[in-house]
């Protein structure tokens, strides 16, 4: 019988994972402290609700932003080492149990967030919303045991890579959209509005957020296709409305409806932001909730 101590003792990836989480945590603290201080220095540099002109100034880095990027990137690198360490130790990739899924999401969310943070200055302050969301996974993973689960026979399949990878890109893009949506909502509070004074106007953030959501929709569609091909190989049917399939289809449909509603009606900015967050929350429960409340989730039929 494996004791808890045995499992922890063998899990040489844990120190790397913890270090990565610390880096993410520091990034979160720095970004919050940064935006709290920034209005005083940046006030007037860009009017809050004017349209966003990405001038040279906007493309330069604000005081704390480079440090945030360095910290998030370090977190990504440390978690990558943790993943590699575990991979070598147990002989297969992080695809099977919840500990592995969370760990690999911490890597991919961080990676895609860091790339976007670097390339799209307009979204940077939304890290105030996005990084704590990443941290929800970080705290969760700390509560789980790093047990290893054998790779099921149906996982020896190239479509696994496509399906899992595309799904991770989808969730990351959704997270970025959610960060921006969160800023739109937070700006309605007097307390938080000053934090985002240097960001582009809400209309611009809304456009940017939905741009990420359309891209997320493309990756979600690709994930569904790759998943269907894999399901056909693995279980002899491409679609059967199992818990995870249904949940992610509903998620896809919700996002599709959001996109249509937005160009059919004058969806108020705040409602649009709530819709984006709803898509993200739905995705979150699809990814991390479904395996719990249904025996027939992918976890069940391996």
């Amino acid at each position: 019988m494996n004791t808890f101590g045995d499992i922890i003792g063998r899990a040489t990836e844990l120190p790397w994972l913890w270090a990565g989480l610390v880096a993410y945590g520091l990034a979160t603290i720095v970004v919050i402290a940064g935006v709290m201080r920034m209005p005083h220095r940046a006030a007037g540099a860009m009017a809050a609700h004017d349209s966003y002109v990405p001038s040279e100034k906007a493309r330069t880095w604000h005081g704390h932003e480079k440090l945030v990027l360095v910290l998030v990137s370090s977190g990504v690198a440390l978690i990558a080492i943790a993943l590699a360490e575990r991979w070598v130790r147990i002989g297969h990739g992080p695809f099977v149990n919840l500990f592995e899924l969370l760990m690999s999401q911490l890597f991919s969310l961080g990676l895609i967030f860091a790339i976007t943070y670097w390339r799209v200055p307009a979204m940077r302050a939304s890290a105030v919303v996005a990084l704590p969301l990443i941290w929800v996974l970080g705290i969760w993973v700390l509560t789980l045991q790093p047990v290893d689960t054998p790779l099921p026979p149906t996982y020896h399949n190239d479509w696994l890579w496509a399906h899992v990878g595309l799904g991770k890109i989808f969730l990351s893009l959704c997270l970025i959209g959610t960060g921006l949506a969160g800023v739109i909502l937070l700006r309605h509070s007097e307390r938080f509005a000053p934090w985002f004074r240097h960001m582009p106007a809400n209309e611009v953030l809304d456009g940017l957020a939905w741009r990420f959501m359309l891209l997320a929709f493309i990756f979600h569609s690709l994930m569904l296709v790759a998943g269907a091909v894999w399901a056909q190989d693995a279980w002899g049917r491409y679609w059967s409305w199992d818990a995870l399939e249904t949940s992610s289809f509903l998620n896809w449909l919700l996002l599709g409806m959001g996109l249509h509603a937005r160009f059919t009606y004058r969806v108020p900015l705040r409602a649009g932001a709530v819709l984006i967050i709803a898509v993200f929350v739905f995705a979150f429960f699809t990814y991390f909730g479904t395996p719990f409340y249904s025996e027939a989730a992918h976890k069940g039929v391996i």
Partner: protein, 339 residues
């Protein structure tokens, strides 16, 4: 007419269709027994009509190549999925090692009304198989050998298993966790001809503890069989399930009598005698046929590529503009424009 088509193709109706499809999907969540299939079919039919009319009449779709390809792809997927349901076949098969496939042996068959008779052209012989088990009885890879006629009177041997199905005439045979052992028995009646057959014992190792079955010889009394297996099964370490290396003692209960038979041994019973020839195995396959599979794949990939192209045009163009002006993509602004 045009007005009517436009109304049928309105985006508001699309939204209604999507909500209904969402409700249908939610009702089908996890396949609860008793959910009728029309909860999905009706909204899909509505969406297909709506989509068709929108593609025909709405310049916001049909003048933008990327979006047009995407929505045509969605339409194609709905139509193909419909054709698939009308022509598909699903079933289960238990086939004994060394025996030839026969369509009559399929069980739990579900098929569409327009399913053809291609299954009668399928021919193969089941060979032996092995299944790897990790410690703790966690199933690993299955290697199932099949022999397929090469068309010139010979046979080709192929190994299938797990996510590598045997595909013949479009029918896909997937190995399953359902497999087990089968004693080969010969019944030699006092009068008449001897007959040889197999008894499929319950799935192994799932029902390791209850390897029993019943059979009544023609004109005889019911017999109860129990198979005591030696397969090298281990809970604590990895092992290989290999029919060739397994042996089994057949315990026959005939009324009050209890007799243990080794392969080759016989038992005298009322009306004839029973010989336990040898131990063999059976493999359980899931059988699947859907002629639209490849087309569905093509339609969905082309659709998504269309959407990708639309995205590229819509935002690629904007990106360049942003350097001169501002990133504006407000809902109101974009609804009237055609990037």
């Amino acid at each position: 007419m045009k007005k009517f088509l436009r109304a049928l193709g309105s985006i508001r109706l699309a939204l209604v269709g999507m909500v209904l499809l969402g409700v249908g999907a939610a009702l089908s969540y996890d396949n609860p027994a008793g959910t009728p299939v029309w909860v999905l079919v009706a909204p899909l039919a509505l969406l297909a009509i709506n989509l068709f009319c929108a593609i025909a009449t709405n310049p916001r779709i049909n003048r933008r190549p990327g979006l047009l390809v995407f929505h045509l792809g969605l339409f194609a997927i709905i139509v193909l999925a419909g054709i698939g349901r009308l022509t598909h076949l699903d079933g289960q098969l238990e086939i004994t090692e060394g025996s030839a496939f026969s369509p009559d042996e399929l069980t739990e068959v579900k098929k569409g009304p327009f399913h053809g008779d291609g299954l009668s052209k399928v021919a193969f012989i089941q060979g032996s198989y092995t299944v790897e088990y990790n410690a703790g009885m966690v199933r690993g890879l299955t290697h199932s050998q099949v022999l397929i006629p090469d068309g010139r009177g010979g046979m080709i041997s192929r190994v299938v298993g797990d996510d590598r199905p045997l595909v013949l005439e479009g029918y896909r045979f997937y190995t399953t966790y359902n497999k087990g052992f089968a004693p080969v028995l010969t019944w030699m009646p006092d009068q008449g001809e001897a007959m040889t057959g197999t008894i499929h014992m319950p799935s192994y190792p799932l029902f390791d503890y209850k390897q029993d079955s019943n059979w009544t010889p023609p004109g005889g009394k019911p017999l109860r069989f129990w198979l005591r297996l030696d397969t090298g099964l281990r809970q604590d370490a990895a092992w290989l399930l290999d029919g060739k290396k397994a042996s089994g003692v057949l315990v026959v209960n005939a009324g009050e009598r209890r007799v243990e038979l080794l392969p080759g041994q016989s038992l005298r019973l009322e009306g004839g005698s029973l010989r336990y020839e040898r131990l063999t195995s059976w493999m359980g396959y899931k059988v699947f046929y859907d002629p639209t599979l490849h087309w569905l794949f093509v339609a969905s990939v082309v659709a998504i590529m269309g959407l990708g192209a639309h995205f590229w045009r819509k935002f690629g163009v904007r990106m360049q503009r942003t350097h001169e002006s501002s990133i504006t993509d407000t809902p109101v602004a974009s609804s009237g424009r055609m990037p």
